[in-house]
């Protein structure tokens, strides 16, 4: 049997790794173990980058599909991992099961939530309030920006809206905008649209604008999603390695399949099965669940843990995305530099949130990505379609004519994407699918019900508003109607990869799963760090808030353990 641990962490993504590191840093000697379902592929970065380059169908999971254990089922690159209730829309976001989690394939955007994102109900009468406010999290946001290594323009972001103060500078200057983005900044900044003034500003990103803590500055590989070949973009392997150096034990290829409690409701151990199919368990004093919002909810439901409220798995959210693409009138040279460095944040908050969802617009440097263009309604491989159009039966271009035609088109591609807020709806949920049980781990697959607007058109109106903004911007750029396409229907949305809800944070045990300190209402020694605890979605990419919550919990552990018992390694009391 393994030794008993002080803290058992499930999941080695950003939440688990950062929490383990901060705790091991402040409480040396504490016995901490992380159980990670996926493999340690830290040394395979180059090989995975090549696998991405070699893949014909390039998507967020392209680097990670090879050499995967066939029994570690996951939604990466598969359409049949999730099952659905009748009437559900497809849930279009996925995640990676490996050490470091989905930070391998994330874009790296790290905006903070805005103050009113925490008070959506009391300010706008929509959704619910969080049990914490911006001011409760601000210092942790600042620490998270230091830990992940955020590049940003402090002056631009300090008090971006009332109350959004910053107590610290970004650790690195902003990422330089691209030539394309500079063109749009010069052309669009100051444009009045309805009651708003367009201001394109640098997006805070966990991507190095200079060498930072042993990792190099961004070299513009343009492949943040799905992989940074040089680790200029933060991923959670950074903190896994730091935690290991502090003595944290990490078990890879160990799939936790049951959390066990005693008669008093205290968690006593977690059971796991290894990739070699051996079974094991670890006992501990405190347990911290840090997997993503879907896998964590599935594990809790499968273990019949933390669910006296019946709310585990409920209120599933994403940031449904739409877009606008165009051929600019002159070349702007996309496909160079990071996929995005800039965005428009004017529509993230305002009185309009009483009527429709907020949204955030980002500028794209990667052509049209995989979005449908004015002459490619299917949106499948825009570059192949572009080539096919030059090689059709009527105008089969060859030689210099072909080259010039492609150059003319591909150098003028511009793209805006927008991510919309989504209200928490109880009917949007993850449940266990009894008909699809993994033969090895015995964990049922997630069965999902996901309908973006269950009542009214709160989100659809945001799509329409964003579509109107993009159309006006294209008009202002004097782009002919035949040369742009705006997608403003939320039935045709893209997933943002921002999986939220399912284990919501709240003050009351009857309608939430964890309290404001991330402790489950049902079990005094079980905590959850995940975007699954978000009561509402706001419009910020969730990772920085997850990191801030991890840091906040680590600080709380440290403070309380030191107070409870000077020999903190022996504690067994409450935090």
């Amino acid at each position: 049997m393994r030794q008993k641990y002080d803290v058992v962490i499930i999941g080695a993504g950003v939440a688990g790794a950062l929490f383990a590191f901060k705790l091991s840093q402040s409480l040396p000697g504490l016995k901490i173990i992380i159980l990670e379902a996926g493999a340690n592929r830290t040394a395979e970065r180059t090989g995975m980058s090549l696998a991405y380059a070699a893949s014909i169908n390039k998507n967020p999971s392209s680097p990670y599909n090879k050499n995967k254990a066939t029994y570690l089922k996951s939604p990466e690159g598969t359409d049949d991992y999730y099952t659905y209730f009748d009437g559900s829309q497809k849930f279009k976001s996925n995640y990676e099961k490996l050490g470091g989690g989905s930070t391998w394939h994330w874009l790296g955007n790290v905006p903070r939530h805005l103050p009113n994102d925490f008070k959506l109900n009391s300010i706008y009468g929509k959704g619910v309030d969080w049990p914490i406010e911006y001011k409760d999290l601000e210092s942790h946001y600042a620490t998270a920006e230091q830990e992940l290594g955020a590049s940003g323009n402090t002056e631009e972001w300090n008090n971006i809206v009332d109350g959004a103060y910053r107590s610290a500078m970004f650790p690195m200057p902003k990422i330089w905008p691209s030539y394309l983005e500079l063109h749009l900044i010069q052309s669009l900044n100051g444009l009045h649209i309805d009651d708003n003034v367009i201001k394109i500003r640098s997006t805070p990103q966990a991507r190095n604008s200079q060498a930072y803590e042993g990792r190099p500055a961004c070299a513009g590989n343009s492949s943040c999603v799905p992989i940074c070949p040089i680790q200029a973009k933060y991923d959670a392997t950074v903190h896994i390695e730091k935690a290991k150096r502090n003595g944290v034990e990490v078990l890879y290829e160990s799939i936790v399949n049951k959390i066990e409690k005693n008669a008093e409701g205290k968690i006593i151990k977690v059971h796991f099965i290894n990739w070699d199919q051996s079974v094991d368990f670890v006992e501990g004093k405190f347990f911290v669940l840090t997997s993503n919002a879907i896998e964590s909810a599935v594990l809790l439901m499968h273990s019949a843990i933390a669910n006296s409220s019946g709310k585990v798995g409920k209120f599933l959210m994403d940031h449904p995305q739409g877009y606008g693409v165009a051929f600019n009138n002159e070349p702007v040279f996309p496909f160079r530099g990071p996929p995005t460095t800039s965005g428009i944040d004017a529509f993230r908050d305002g009185a309009f949130r009483k009527k429709h969802a907020a949204f955030r617009i980002s500028l794209g440097n990667d052509g049209w990505s995989r979005f449908a263009g004015p002459d490619n309604p299917n949106g499948i491989d825009n570059l192949e379609v572009l080539l096919d159009q030059q090689l059709n039966d009527k105008t089969f271009l060859l030689g210099e004519s072909l080259k010039k035609a492609i150059e003319n088109k591909v150098t003028r591609m511009i793209r805006f994407s927008y991510s919309t807020e989504m209200l928490p709806q109880e009917s949007n949920r993850v449940e266990l699918d009894p008909n699809k049980v993994d033969p090895i781990s015995q964990i049922p697959r997630p069965k999902i019900n996901f309908v973006i607007d269950t009542e009214g058109k709160y989100n659809q109106k945001a799509f329409e508003s964003a579509g109107s903004v993009l159309t006006k911007m294209f008009h202002h750029l004097k782009i002919p109607k035949t040369n742009f396409h705006v997608q403003a229907d939320n039935k045709i949305f893209s997933g943002a990869g921002h999986i939220m809800g399912t284990m919501r944070m709240g003050n009351h045990s009857h309608d939430s799963v964890v309290d404001k300190n991330l402790r489950t209402h049902d079990h005094e020694n079980l905590f959850i760090i995940s975007s699954g605890v978000f009561p509402t979605s706001g419009t910020a990419n969730p990772t920085l808030t997850i990191a801030a919550l991890a840091i906040r919990l680590a600080e709380r552990f440290t403070k309380e353990l030191k107070k409870t018992n000077t020999a903190y390694a022996k504690v067994s009391g409450k935090i």
């Binding site: 070699a54 030539y179 513009g220 040279f333 060859l398 072909l402 591909v410």
Partner: protein, 140 residues
Amino acid sequence: MEKNNPSSLFFHLSVQLCGVENLSPRLSDVYYETFNSDPSSTVILKILLDKYQKILNSNGHNIIQRIQKEILDDNKLKDLVRNIIKLWYLGYCSGIATLTELKGGGFYFHYEALIWKVAHAHPPGLSGGYYGYWKYKPET
């Protein structure tokens, strides 16, 4: 060009079709073998190269116009020409059975795809240079 060498002829034809001078001879050999070893295109490739050789042998000018007139009037040849161009420009093309084999080592084809050069860019996953190069207009 090495006379009567189909691989060299394929390279020469590729330059004409793509409109790009500095193609990789090594990559050309791989692409030639890709089509030549594919049962669905072996025969038609030989016909294509024979026709192209005749165009060259006639010492005629306006090679592009002659390709359009004497090769693209045959739908099978046209399909093959389309695939050759797509392979050079994208690093992949659909409909060629043996191209599935390229998936294993296809990163080189992605990196060498002409689309990035014509776009004055670089393949995603391969750096375009130093930090911040993207701020400036590329040399065109």
